[in-house]
């Protein structure tokens, strides 16, 4: 019982934490981010299972997280009104090669960040881009101008 309750609290806390951290942090996986992710997992594990080394405890903890994740996924699918809250919404950050400063500030993005993401997509100049959209996953999608 206790471990299931802890699983619910940890899941809720991590979900809210991931939402407030913003998409950019979620999408980038630089070496330091990877280390942080491992530390985060380790810190969560201590609070989740504590001194329970049993197989039953592990199954209860993992099962709780899995069921909650399925529940969130179903709520996201079934109730469109919840999607902006659960998953967020795409954000247009560049139009016709011009960055939209207000929206970039919102996600703590710089033009350099967009240019870097564009280069990864094989786009040399932002002028070639008709639209850049920051997706709910934190990745940036680029739609090139039709004549480029």
């Amino acid at each position: 019982m206790d471990i299931v309750g802890r699983g619910v609290v940890v899941f809720a806390f991590l979900y809210v934490l991931m939402r407030i951290m913003g998409r950019r942090e979620l999408s980038t996986l630089e070496p330091f981010d990877l280390i942080l992710l491992i530390i985060l997992g380790d810190a969560v594990q201590q609070g989740l299972t504590q001194d329970d080394y049993s197989l039953t405890g592990a199954m209860l903890a993992v099962g709780t997280i899995a069921v909650l994740q399925i529940g969130m996924s179903y709520a996201n699918f079934r109730f469109p009104r919840l999607r902006p809250w659960l998953d967020g919404q795409p954000l247009v950050i560049l139009q016709d090669g011009k960055p939209i400063e207000k929206n970039m500030r919102r996600e703590r993005l710089t033009v350099d960040d967009i240019a870097e993401a564009a280069r990864k997509e094989g786009i040399g100049k932002l002028d070639e881009v008709a639209w850049a959209v920051m997706e709910t996953s934190g990745t940036i999608s680029f739609i090139k101008k039709s004549d480029s």
Binding site: I20, P84, Q89, R106, W131, V133, I143
Partner: protein, 193 residues
Amino acid sequence: MTKRSHVKEVAFGRRNRPDVADLPHRIVLKNHRDLEGRAHRIWYRRGAVLVLTVFLALGAANVFGQRPVGHTVSTPAASLELYAPTGLRGGLMWEARFTITAHRDVKNALLQLSPGWLESMQMNTVEPSPLGQASRNGDLFLTLGHIPAGHTYRLFMEFQVTPTNVGQRHTDVTLYDGATKLIHLSRVITVYP
């Protein structure tokens, strides 16, 4: 998305298409570029960050325990200082230090600890070992023996919190000289999950 809202969104997209070329499918400028109806949501995120920061500040300020604090009660016969945390969390190892200073000869010092001291706590050690241990009306009695006037007796107890031991417990301490009560220290310990 419901059929009606989908139709609305498509219609809105069409209205906006003449402005810019190649508007990506299901991107609605009003919503996804101009942030109509969602501009204020950034404040929810900022509010949540603030709440998280306050939570961390409270943790740093020892609200959720671990750091020991001292409580001293003094009478003409003796003084008792208890140095131990009042807030703990599941699994933490912690120490309680009892310092008894005899102002006059205490012939047979007895320390009475209420059950909250040991309820769902692992007691790792007591140093120095008391001369005797007993249970009276559910309380733990430790016989410390003779403490001459002007001398100090220091007792260390090491514990670990059982993770499921969540809530508040009374951890009162009473010092006796034989059957005579000398000092009573009332105290509550809070165990956070």
